[in-house]
Amino acid sequence: MNQMNADDEKKRGISRLALVGSVGLGLAVVLAVTGIISREHAAKALARETNEAAIPTVAVIKPRVGGMQPTLVLPGDVEAWYWAPIYGQVSGYVRMWYKDIGARVKKGDLLAVIDTPELDAHVKQAKAELAKARAQEQLAEITSKRWDALWQTGLKQRFEPVSRQATDVTDYDLAAARAATLAAKGELDRLEALEKFKYLVAPFDGVVTARRTDVGAFVKANGVSNQPEMFEVADIHIMRVYVRVPQTYASQIHVGMKAELHVPGMPGKVFPATVDTTSYAVNLDSRTLLVELWAPNPKYELYPGTYAEVYFHLTPRPNAVEIPSSALIFQDRGLQVATVGRDDRAQLRNVTIGRDMGSSVIVISGLKPSEWVIDSPPDTLNAGDLVRVVGHHGVFPGLETKPERISDAHQ
């Protein structure tokens, strides 16, 4: 019985063991299978996600038609319309000056008076000389008249009270005296004209830009080389601006072209100017073309001698488009931009840059205005790569609306 019990127990044990064993094994299988399935799922999801992430996301922009006007900036010298240094014509001392620097003058305005005692004396002398000559002329006239009368009387009466010679002498004495008077008059006139130079006057409407004399200063006639001018008068209602344009740009500057002046010290102030003429010759030393511009200066804000930056607005190319320089792909293949087509695939376009303005560039060929250009393309973008368009960068002013996908935008 014991044996039987033991056997029973053993059998029961075995069956229980088998049960426990198979349950355990089943559990193990379930654990393994679920574990593997969940991993498979995760792997698939991961593969999907990785493939998605492998597509680069890009922002696109539309190029701006025409593009910004390219600008050339060059240094220029601002000079006056007319500019006249005024020197003394007579020697003497300045009695008084009437216009100081900065004074606006009309033509003929008195600038200063020079005291010329020597000249005055000369005038007096000349006047006296004239009087003397006149007196002598009168005397000669009277004498000549008398002798003529005597000669006439003698002719009637057929006798010769005076000789013909004597009469002729008086006649020509008179002519000489008349000439002497004219000479004396001429001398007086000359001196009197000189006398007028005592009064320095403005040669034209303008501004006194220099006064290098003062009351009592000695002025020597005919302004010799070591003496400065007494005044400078400049006409500044229009300024002439001289710009030396490097040879490389010379062909782009033409008469009638508009330009702007920017002057240091007057930030934000812009003066319009127009190209009036050029020298039509390139300077041998500096290889520059001298260009003259006219800048109206109604408020007298521009001063002669000013340094100015001249902004020439060059004419843009007709079929040029402007794109931000961040859209350019710098690679050794040359400059390219990436565009996105209908199929959301990138295309690379070789482009020619007309002008680089730093933050943007003018593309003169290779890009149509209707194309969507990738801004900041990934470094490793190749033609035909799939891209995901996610929006725009917002850095470029000529931005169009953003399409979610390029294919939408084309519809």
């Binding site: 492998a54 996301t57 030393d285 340094y307």
Partner: protein, 1096 residues
């Protein structure tokens, strides 16, 4: 057994020994440096060349390449050379063989640098040479900010005042701060004024050189004194520099103030730090030498109040990135785990032994053995760190083993009615050899770990050492301390229990619980016996079934485990590297960072963010240049560090979310997430990503094109993330081509153009260094002339840059000063020619003699072993490194045929280290098993029985695979180490069973009975050992730390191995010995406690 005798006779000696261990342990614990990781002594010497404004390709060609070639011939023991050239910096990292003497290496490298200096561009200064290793990471960062304190003032305070004070902290290395503005005395040139006055930049620099001199005047003896003489050569006030004359133009003196403004300022910002959106200056404190992280941080923090006293009131010093907190945390976590493990183990022992006194003896050996280990570690120069402590935590489970076995054997002998002393003597005698063997078995499996190379060597050898020392300590205690204590406490216990006769029913619920457990255990043991009988009755199906299960498990599950180098750990921070389109200016990058930060703040819970720190562009300091390895090469690069608060949501989830979101928000910007925790940073050592596919070849363009192809395929490998090519060759460059003939015609040479550009765009400092000394503070500041960047910001400005011939006297005369025109006639309109005095030249503008073309240029040029390389960096997300690496290798193999001639591709980075470590560890595992086999062979003096012991091991492997599979843990170095550990314990247990079975066999039993008896008798110690180990590993396994896989592997492996030890091993034994003819084995037998079953 003389020392057991001594311990019994001279208990005081043993107590003194224990006290000594306690004292030495306490001292070692206090004195040993506490760090995150052991010293990783992979010697690296970094050489940093600086040359302001030198372009990357020129830097690489003119400086790096020269120097690298020189290094290869002049310096010994080089493992590899990496170099990187970015604008203005050339960084060469020389990795040495581990055996090299770093000081000698530094000396050789320095000598090589001196040799090569003459061949480098004029003005090149000798480079910074510094030695560092993988564990050189900032231990504390100070962020300086303050209302009303300018950026350059902040930098100045940080660099010239706070830095020297911190340098006095022992072991702290404080390089030049990040961010802010590098204070300089700047002469801001005014281009317009200069053109108007006819002064060239050269004139200004020249004048400064002549007016600001550093020339000593000497001394003069007058009367009784020798007077020192000082000349007012260098101005005291910056303002006075403005009044320096530059040159005379037509009788008018042009002063500095007329054409430039000299002021206290800074060069244009090239490194920016933002802390939570505000600009700041970052002062990292590095640990150098063997000083403890904790002590450095503590000393630096003590220094702060003193520093603050001498600083402006408004200055705020904000500390963060405090590694000591992490170190403390890590250490605390490990200690907590160890204590928990000790408590759990103690409870388990108590449960089995049912006697608190003996349990107490056993538990007391845990801290003593641990302290012993710390003492030995400290003496051998190791530090207290997460690795050594992890080793101790790992050891706790086995520490109790030898003590438990000893105590149990004492009890067994006591119960045989022996006197206490004899019981102990006999018990110890009997157990000491098996204990020693199992100790050796466990220690031996760790031996192959000493053959690991690279980072894993430095990380895991200390762990192995900690385990081994602790085990040795435990063993020594079990033959000295344990018998001594047992002598006092067990006799009492024994007598007490004797007095009451057979065990009474106690009222104490705990005691009753224990008694219940004991009854349950005995029932279980009976059931085990019948099961074992069953298995022995049908050996063939059992063995086949068992093996089939194991093999099927291994075969089916192993491929799904995945392989990583190290488990991913939540570092509590996100480090995001942002690359805006190449060449993006720093201000725009800063703005971009602001927007990215906003996006991050939207994604993350507000409470989770502690700080967000951005670091933009190349650091100011060459030293930081050497340390930084996040891949920053220019102003378009930024590192955004998001520091999380404790209790944040998992970092990996945030990273995954940001990875999806950021590219859609910021197209055109490249993002990559770098490891933020030090552990991974150390493992990645020098690379910003775990996988680095390096393409080396002679033709750069072909190599790059090939790399782009590879990159595109790799991007589609599941689980890869942040795939990008590190080298960028599209940095926008304005290529100025001077028409030399035309230039010559107008009297200019290339040199005039170059100097003009240098002084206007790069500043004069590199070519003509000049300094201004602040007499009040004693700090010298560089003095340089430069065009402020805002003055040249269009291409037209560049075209319009004046170029003058400095050799010609004077520049252009200004029209205003011309007063004399002969004859007083009208002026020739604008006719400059007539206004020029003889010898004067007209300034040309750049556009007149040169054309400017935008072109691509490299942003960085990298070399590996003196060859140009292109790196593809690959991160991983959601998939194990092993699988990704396999897929990448597949792609590389496929692309092999398309490679340009002469091109080679290498896979470097963590993945390469991992491959090495794995092969080493697998080999180690094999060697371990072999060593155990040999050990047992020696012990049993048999070739066959050790096989039976080893037979338990496949089950352990299956257990490891199962637990890793179920817990979704990938294989990793810690898991492999756990496996190795498991092998040791499993074989120790099997040895226990087999040695008993052999004795039974020797005593004349047949093999089946011997096997049953062995299993039945040994189930208790086997279960105690395995149970203690498993339960001791539970806290580690349940944590999210680096060593969790280790704990899991041990638990799974031991659970299965125990089953195998109890069933499979006896069955195999019976089979092996089924033809046994009762031969008496020769000596070498170990345990002879023939009828231990009697105690139940």
């Amino acid at each position: 057994m003389w020392f057991v005798k001594i311990s019994l006779r001279q208990p005081i000696t043993i107590i003194v020994m224990v006290v000594l261990i306690l004292l030495a342990g306490a001292r070692a614990t206090l004195d040993t440096p506490v760090d995150m990781f052991p010293q990783v002594n992979i010697p690296v010497v970094a050489v940093v060349w600086t040359y302001q404004g030198l372009l990357p390709d020129e830097m690489a060609a003119r400086i790096n390449y020269f120097f690298e070639r020189m290094v290869t011939t002049q310096v010994n023991n080089i493992k590899s050379i990496q170099s990187e050239a970015v604008i203005g910096y050339g960084v060469i990292k020389i990795f040495f063989q581990p055996s090299v003497d770093i000081n000698f290496a530094v000396a050789q490298v320095t000598a090589a640098a001196q040799t090569v200096l003459k061949f480098l561009p004029p003005g090149t200064t000798p480079p910074f040479v510094l030695a560092y290793n993988a564990t050189t990471v900032p231990v504390l960062q100070l962020a300086l900010s303050g209302r009303g304190i300018s950026q350059f003032k902040l930098f100045d305070l940080g660099n010239n005042f706070i830095r020297p004070m911190l340098a006095s902290v022992p072991g702290a290395a404080v390089p030049i701060p990040y961010g802010g503005l590098n204070r300089r005395v700047e002469a801001d040139l005014n281009l317009q004024a200069m053109q108007a006055n006819g002064v060239s930049p050269d004139d200004v620099t020249e004048a400064l050189m002549r007016q600001n001199l550093i020339i000593p005047a000497g001394t003069e003896k007058i009367g009784r004194f020798e007077w020192h003489v000082r000349l007012n050569s260098s101005p005291v006030e910056i303002k006075t520099i403005n009044d320096m004359p530059i040159k005379r133009v037509n009788g008018t003196v042009v002063y500095m103030r007329d054409i430039a403004y000299v002021h206290d300022g800074a060069p244009p910002q090239t490194n920016m730090v933002r802390v939570n959106g505000h600009r700041a200056v970052l002062l990292p404190i590095f640990k150098s030498g063997s000083e403890s992280t904790l002590s450095i941080v503590a000393a630096a923090k003590r220094m702060l109040p003193l520093i603050k006293e001498s600083m402006p009131k408004a200055l705020r010093i904000h500390t963060f990135g405090d590694q000591s907190v992490f170190v403390k945390d890590a250490v605390e976590v490990v200690i907590r785990e160890a204590v928990l493990a000790a408590v759990l183990t103690g409870l388990l022992v108590l449960l089995f032994l049912g006697d608190w006194r003996t349990t107490l003896i056993i538990v007391m050996t845990i801290p003593l053995a641990a302290l012993f280990s710390v003492v030995v570690l400290s003496a051998s120069g190791q530090t207290i760190n997460s690795m050594t402590l992890g080793g101790l935590a790992l050891a706790v489970g086995i520490l109790v083993d030898s003590a438990t076995v000893t105590i149990e054997n004492f009890a067994y002998h006591l119960e045989m009615g022996k006197e206490i002393v004899f019981a102990i003597m006999d018990g110890a005698q009997q157990i000491v050899i098996p204990s020693l063997v199992s100790l050796l078995a466990i220690c031996i499996v760790f031996v192959p770990m000493f053959t690991l190379t690279g980072v894993s060597h430095y990380l895991f050898v200390p762990l192995a050492e900690a385990v081994i020392y602790a085990l040795v300590g435990a063993f020594l205690l079990s033959v000295s301390f344990v018998p001594m204590m047992a002598q006092f406490w067990m006799s009492e216990a024994h007598h007490a229990s004797e007095g009451h006769g057979d065990k009474p029913r106690s009222r104490n619920p705990l005691v009753r619980f224990q008694q219940g457990f004991e009854r349950g255990f005995n029932r279980m043991r009976e059931r085990y016996r019948s099961l074992l009988d069953l298995a022995l009755a049908h050996p063939a199906p059992f063995i086949t079934g068992f093996l089939a299960f194991i093999l099927v498990s291994l075969a089916v599950l192993t491929p799904w485990l995945g392989r990583n180098f190290f488990p991913e750990v939540d570092g509590g921070a996100i480090l995001l590297h942002v690359s805006a389109p190449t060449g993006t200016r720093i201000e725009d990058t800063a703005r971009l960072c602001g927007r990215i930060e906003k996006a991050i703040r939207r994604v993350m819970r507000p409470g989770d963010i502690d700080n967000i720190i951005d670091n933009l562009d190349i650091p100011y300091s060459p030293i930081d240049m050497a340390y930084q390895n996040t891949g920053t090469v220019g102003p378009e690069d930024a590192d955004i560090t998001v520091q999380e608060t404790p209790g944040h949501l998992p970092t990996a989830e945030y990273v995954a979310k940001l990875r999806r979101l950021l590219p859609t928000l910021f197209p055109g910007v490249t993002f990559s997430f770098l490891p933020a925790d030090i552990a991974t940073q150390i493992l990645n050592f020098g690379a910003p990503a775990p996988v680095d596919v390096q393409v080396i070849g002679p033709v750069r363009d072909a190599v790059y094109a090939y790399a782009v192809r590879l990159e595109k395929s790799i991007k589609h490998v599941p689980g890869t993330a942040d795939v990008h090519i590190f080298q960028r060759f599209n940095y926008p460059l304005l290529n100025i081509k001077v028409n030399r003939s035309l230039a010559q015609m107008v009297g200019l040479t290339q040199a005039d153009v170059a100097r003009g550009l240098l002084e206007e765009l790069a500043g004069s400092f590199q070519i003509t260094p000049n300094f201004w000394l602040n007499w009040k503070t004693g700090v010298s500041y560089p003095l340089q002339t430069m065009m402020p960047q805002y003055r040249i910001d269009t291409l037209a400005d560049l075209y319009n840059m004046p170029i003058t011939d400095p050799s010609a006297p004077g520049g252009r005369t200004q029209p205003q000063s011309v007063t004399t025109i002969a004859g007083g006639g009208t002026r020739f309109p604008g006719g400059t020619a007539v206004k020029l005095a003889p010898g004067q030249t007209i300034p040309e503008i750049l556009g007149a003699v040169a054309s400017i073309k935008p072109e691509p240029s490299p942003a960085v040029v990298s070399h590996y072993n003196v060859q140009p390389v292109v790196d593809i960096y690959i991160n991983r997300q959601g998939r194990d490194l092993g699988a990704i690496s396999a897929d990448i290798h597949k792609i590389l193999r496929k692309a092999l045929s398309a490679r340009p001639p002469g091109t080679r591709v290498f896979v470097r980075g963590q993945v390469a280290v991992m491959t090495t470590a794995y092969s080493e560890l697998f080999a180690g595992l094999g060697v371990s098993i072999l060593l155990v086999y040999l050990l047992v062979t020696v012990n049993f003096q048999s070739w066959l029985d050790p096989f039976v012991v080893i037979a338990a091991l496949p089950a352990a492997l299956a257990g490891i695979v199962w637990i890793l599979f179920v817990t979704h843990t990938t294989l990793s170095v810690p898991a492999l180490i756990g496996s190795i550990m498991c092998m040791g314990i499993a074989s120790a247990n099997s040895i226990l069973v087999i040695s008993f079975a052999r004795e039974q066999l020797a005593n004349g039993m047949d093999s089946v009975r011997a096997a049953v008896e062995a299993g039945f008798t040994r189930i208790r110690p086997v279960l105690i050992t395995a149970g203690a180990m498993i339960i001791g590993m539970v806290p580690t396994a349940a944590s999210a730390e680096q060593n969790a896989p280790l704990g899991r592997a041990v638990i799974g492996g031991l659970a299965f191995a125990t089953v195998s030890t109890l069933f499979f091993v006896p069955v195999v034994f019976s089979l092996v010995h089924r033809n046994h003819t009762n031969a008496v084995p020769e000596g070498g037998e170990t345990a002879r406690n023939t009828d231990r079953g009697a105690d139940s």
